[in-house]
Symmetry: C2
Subunit: 423 residues, 2 copies
Amino acid sequence: MATKPRTTDWTAQMRVLGQRARAAARVLAAMPGATRADALRSAAASIRATAGPILDANARDMVRAQTSGLAPALLDRLKLDAARLEATAAGVESVAALDDPVGILVDRRERPNGLVLDRVRVPIGVIGIIFESRPNVTADAGALCVMAGNAAILRGGSEAIETNRALHAAFVAGLGAAGVTPHAVQLIDDTDRAAVGAMLAADGHIDLVIPRGGKSLVARVQAEARVPVLAHLDGINHTYIDAAADPAMARAIALNAKMRRTGICGATETLLIDRGFAAPGPILAALADAGCELRGDAEACAIDPRVLSADDEDWDTEYLDAILAMRIVGGVDAAIAHIAAHGSHHTDAIVTADATVAERFLAQVDSAIVMWNASTQFADGGEFGLGAEIGIATGRLHARGPVALEGLTTYKWVVRGTGQVRP
Amino acid sequence: MATKPRTTDWTAQMRVLGQRARAAARVLAAMPGATRADALRSAAASIRATAGPILDANARDMVRAQTSGLAPALLDRLKLDAARLEATAAGVESVAALDDPVGILVDRRERPNGLVLDRVRVPIGVIGIIFESRPNVTADAGALCVMAGNAAILRGGSEAIETNRALHAAFVAGLGAAGVTPHAVQLIDDTDRAAVGAMLAADGHIDLVIPRGGKSLVARVQAEARVPVLAHLDGINHTYIDAAADPAMARAIALNAKMRRTGICGATETLLIDRGFAAPGPILAALADAGCELRGDAEACAIDPRVLSADDEDWDTEYLDAILAMRIVGGVDAAIAHIAAHGSHHTDAIVTADATVAERFLAQVDSAIVMWNASTQFADGGEFGLGAEIGIATGRLHARGPVALEGLTTYKWVVRGTGQVRP
């Protein structure tokens, strides 16, 4: 028999990383928030001071990626320059400026027997982040985890390996200069896909995995994970124009919700228009004039010759492009039913001047974010005032919608007594 | 080729159950809390009115179980009598009396652009409950799910199939009498183990699975589930007696924490005693006198001749019996380190008069529940004032410790604007 080449035992390796991370997490959790924030400011300074080597490493990744024929959009995501690196460092500082989520009292109750029960926010523990080509995630996600008192284990895309390595080295050197263990943020410095499998199986070592990347990455993570996953799936978002909508507001919101940026998960993908709405024509014209391809049902096609015929698949498609599905519906209940059948529980909006109709929509549409008279493009942690986000969760448990520092914590019950025993 | 016997296609069957449940969940979520409470009171009345057929069904289950040689402890769990059935009906009424968790405003923020963002509690959706021999879970779990606006899909143990069927029929007849669809609580009326596998794979149809039963059930659910699981694993709970503990309080708490009921998950399994504590002897004597087997390290053995020698396994064992592991440790940090190494993150307590030491323990012990000067046996949703519990979660996400109505909800973001578009 031939000898097999020696391969890394990723299960054992993950155990080592996990034990180091757990020890670091205990230290971070016990540390004052101001100390964690100081360590992040030190990490930002270290990134700035190491800009040369980081950009050199990125240049080498770019050469390799160009040689291997990486698509232009992915090359753009991979590329760092002085401005992007400065934005990364500034992003770390902005996380350090957020309120400390650890130790916040969620609620307190006193029992008739005198026991006082507090629920207090605490870090989750060890968080695994699996991401694709954007190297800035190394710093962004590391900063959010540390600020919430968690240790992070990062696994980046193979095309960014040199950049990630350099950025990570700078980040943890900065943590170290502030007296925080480098095990607070560990990078899996290997492109072996088996390492991802070991992360997903590291039950007991990793408390939560967050995939940041395209659908195939998220799907793999959800299919394989033996640890909890906080995942963002499709954003098949709807904007419904009610009969009672103000025509100018409806036009402005529809245009912004679809066309401001078509590639973000908060973009509207389907426009539902109430049959009773008086002025659908100008909305369709504005969208078509802005370069949006319109795919509608028969009634929508009759409004504007530029509307193409939609097929069934269009109602279930996240285009992430200048394409919009359109359907004429018979009132708010039909809109709610369409969204229940085709939506992805991300973000859905109604435009109407009728508060009763609006509240019905807000109550009955079962999405992480429901909006009244606003553009779905506001679905973003920064726009929500959360400071920064690690993702937008489309699952139902733990955290929904934009996930920021609070979503990276959990709680514990702290019970204070005076000698009570249970009868 | 031989024709295979026709078997149930559980994947297809679960799709049907899931679609019915989803439709029922939408109705429940939109229903006023008072209506859900009325429906539960009607279900309780129906259980009382159907006591005869339910007890007859239980008698048949008992005969079958006795014939098949079910262990006495399991027979006792299976058995219903008039008093137990009345307690079940009263339990449903007590859930109906709890505050409605749906619609509660978690927080509100107003953005500089005028958008008002509310986070509002909403039901999770469809909850799968997999349980073992106790038939009252049919009513308890069904009531908690419905009160929190969720639809439930129940799968009980095969030995209780006739009781579960009768109790479920009474429960949904009561819901129906109050105008609530019977699809709000569906029972998988089949003992095929493949049905459990289909539940655990019913991603998209079931939003959360809660196993209620022994370790092997929970382990199977955690290993197989493709849907999120809220699980209660071991309760390897510690009580630490600090040097500064009041001797009488320490003795009373240790005795209660271990011996009040040894079979519940909140029972203390390991007693840690500070080497500086002056009076360990009376505590050990009180425990031994109460019939508790003591297994200690060498120092503990030296205190009382009735202490047997513990081996390494004892520190990691949930006895659920009148057996206690004991270790003499050098202060609170050693106690915290022992709990970090051997605990199960369920409930751990310190007894001390020193507030600084207590707060150190409360902050650094990473368990769902940490207690100061109280018995670990208080780890219970009823004792916490939550009214009723569906279980005690030992995971880190979504809900920790006793899970009651709030843990059966999630939240959504409701954004109200006046025409805002994103710049």
